[in-house]
Amino acid sequence: MNTSLDIKKTYKLYIDGKFSRTESGRYIQWVDSKNNQTINFCHASRKDFRNAVQASRNAFNNWNNFSGYNRGQILYRIAEMLDSRKEQFISELILQGKSKKKSIQEVKQSIDRLVYYAGWSDKFQQIFSRVNPVSTPYYNFSSPEPTGVVSVIAPKNSYLLGFISVIVPAVVGGNTVVVLASEDNPLCAISFSEVLHSSDVPNGVINILSGYCNELAGHFSSHMDVNAVINCSSDLKDSELIRKNSSLNVKRVFDYESIDWTHVDSQDPYLIMDCQEVKTTWHPIGY
């Protein structure tokens, strides 16, 4: 009889395009109630977050300067990679307690969502840019530019679809993100980093942490080099803390807690625009 021992995988953080252990040496044990299977995740610390922000900041200038076309290509590549690993994600969702039917549906929707936003990469600017008809002899136009580094607290209860739905609008717009995976079920998000890793996403554009919201929300919102926070935590204390801390450097705060990500109307370019700044440029018309 051929027996071989299961390989117990260690799930790491994804920071600056590298799979790294938490500097804190802590871990979170995740137990599958049905099979009594356990998985260990890194228990990210504020220093891991700090490193991730630094990576995001370094990546921002580069990513921001990618053409929309190029960003779209990369997002579509992520969709392709997710599609080629869909069995893995379906089984992970099942493992985390979803029905098979719902799991298949969620992976399909996740791929669709990536494709949806990939398609916006070189179009939302056209929808939200304008030439403003000023009454003086000036050419005046406004167009969106990414806000910068965005910290994201991903939905607790939509491990894959919700996770993708909240980070991708920011990323397609040229922002870089540090995202905290669902603290109850981080598996899909952490596996997703492997998809990213094989998808030509430049290092540092998407950084994924596993850990606890109540430990990290304060840091996610107080870091002075973070420009915006997307908050999906339903805990009012977290929300209040985030809003309070955002005053430190006038962070933009977006609360997506109530959005149902399975609904097709939960995707729109206005979510991309949340993490955009409109820049208006004036120039005289003459000779």
């Binding site: 304008r130 003086t136 809003r243 006038v250 933009r252 729109d268 700044e277 409109v278 820049k279 004036w282």
Partner: protein, 493 residues
């Protein structure tokens, strides 16, 4: 040089402009102004008053009601009732027509409004007459047209009004800021409680009279005067659904803080320390004029003022000497004189703050140049000022002074100057001057700020969005973007 001065003595006489004072005969300022709540001027329940005075001669202009807690509450309830019963339901095209009416009335009363603006705030009549008041009217005209066209502004989604907007405005462009706040709020179906700045309430109260004259339904716009505490009460009033604030970053942060436990929306227009970059291939004389406009417009009381000047090394001396001679032709004095370029500093407190920065600049080793003017004995004045021999780490380079004080540094390469321009917690505006098109696009793209003036500075238009990156604020005012802070995107789920 000595020949030059001889020549000056020999010339028969130098030509000085005679006084050209704007006549103030036809304006009316009441001795007392009450609160404008529910379409009527009412006595403050607080029974408190303060004075608004003319910063050019320190004379009191009028006694102004100070809204206390009950007054704020009363105003907010008036706005809420007007929202629930009238404004939310009214045919949008009728909303637009009210705004058109207000715009027309501002135009008709433009001279009176300009004079009062200059009396109350100290700004030169040339600016209030040619810039503040016409732009205020234009702003109402622009948003009037949006009222029944909101579906076109938010393609694919529906935008709905928010409710009662509490709006707090600063003292640097009193009527214009009132227009920036009220017009988009009303166009998108909200009702308003506006609090003008303590030192410049008069034109907002004149606007209240105009609103009355326009027969705007009672309570749609309420104007309550007061100080910082009044503003705080407005921010924290539970029936206010949205806060719009223009003012300092410090107060903006306090507002974010106090709204943390609520679901209130907010938009903020905060401070700035704009970099104005002059490249060696710029049109020099126009750049010099642009620098003058960037920092001495409205005595430098402008959040988007180009207070950090970066001049490319090879033209640095030339620019500075041209600035000196241009500054010597600026006329400082009575704001009501049509030839005045530099009016009075808005308040004693602001003058004190500016002087503090002048001292800091000098103490930190900066080389100061001030144009020579005879400073009137009464009132608050500051001569146009340049600082050279300074660096990024000087406080006068980092902090917003909000006065006619320019910090000048030179640079060698474009990459260097972009890095320096972005080396600031602010990101409201920026300027770049070059004759080379591709350089304009490169520099303007890389400056992290909401408004970039290329080969110009301090231009405003109702169709043009205005607002900051980073600590300079959240949201835009003006243009289509200016509607967004006053609507909720609905039918998302």
């Amino acid at each position: 040089m000595s020949e030059n001065s001889k020549a000056k003595k020999n010339s028969s006489m130098s030509w000085k402009y005679s006084n050209a004072l704007e006549s103030i005969e036809h304006i009316s300022i009441s001795p007392v102004y009450k609160l404008f709540i529910g379409g009527k001027f009412v006595n403050p329940i607080s029974k408190k008053y303060f004075h608004s005075s003319n910063p050019a001669n320190e004379k009191k202009l009028a006694k102004i009601a100070l809204a206390g807690k009950s007054d704020v509450n009363k105003a907010v309830l008036a706005a809420k009732s007007a929202y629930d019963n009238i404004w939310e339901k009214i045919d949008p095209k009728e909303r637009g027509k009210y705004l058109f009416r207000i715009a027309r009335l501002i135009q008709e009363k433009s001279r009176e409004l300009a004079i009062i603006e200059s009396l109350d705030g100290g700004k030169p009549i040339r600016e209030s007459r040619d810039i503040d008041i016409p732009l205020a009217a234009a702003h109402f005209f622009y948003y009037a047209g949006w009222a029944d066209k909101l579906d076109y502004a938010f393609p694919g989604r529906k935008a709905s009004s928010i409710g009662v907007a509490g709006q707090i405005i600063p003292w640097n462009f009193p009527l214009l800021m009132a227009a920036w706040k009220i017009a988009p709020a009303l166009a998108s179906g909200n009702t308003v409680v506006l609090k003008p700045a303590e030192s410049t309430p008069l034109t907002a109260l004149k606007l209240a009279e105009i609103i009355q004259e326009a027969d705007l339904p009672a309570g749609v716009v309420n104007i309550i005067t007061g100080d910082g505490t009044t503003g705080e009460l407005l921010v924290n009033n539970p029936n206010v659904d949205k806060i719009a604030f223009t003012g300092s970053t410090k107060v903006g942060k306090m507002i974010i803080n106090s709204l943390a436990a609520t679901k209130k929306k907010y938009s903020l227009e905060l401070g700035g320390k704009a970099a104005n970059i002059i490249c060696e291939d710029a049109a020099i004389d126009q750049a010099v004029e642009g620098i003058i406009n960037s920092i001495f417009f409205n005595q430098g009381h402008v959040c988007c003022a180009g207070s950090r000047l970066y001049v490319q090394e090879s033209i640095s001396n030339q620019i500075i000497s041209k600035l000196h001679s241009r500054m010597d032709h600026l006329i400082l004095g009575d704001p009501l004189d049509k030839n005045t370029d530099i009016g009075a500093i808005n308040s004693k407190a602001q003058l004190k703050r500016i002087k503090m920065y002048l001292d800091i600049g000098k103490k930190d080793g900066g080389e100061i140049y001030q144009s020579k003017h005879s400073i009137p004995k009464k009132g608050y004045w500051c001569a146009p000022t340049l600082f050279t021999d300074i660096s990024q780490s000087h406080r006068i380079v980092q902090e917003e002074i909000f006065g006619p004080v320019l910090a000048i540094q030179s640079f060698r390469t474009i990459d260097e100057v972009i890095a320096k321009a972005n080396n600031s917690p602010y990101g409201l505006s920026g300027g770049v001057w070059t004759d080379k098109g591709s350089k304009i696009f490169q520099v303007s793209k890389k400056i992290r700020a909401g408004v970039i003036w290329a080969n110009t500075f301090n231009k405003f238009d109702p169709t043009s969005p205005f607002g900051g990156y980073k600590e300079s604020g959240i949201g835009r005012e003006g243009g289509l973007e200016g509607l967004s802070p006053y609507v909720n995107i609905v039918n998302r789920n």
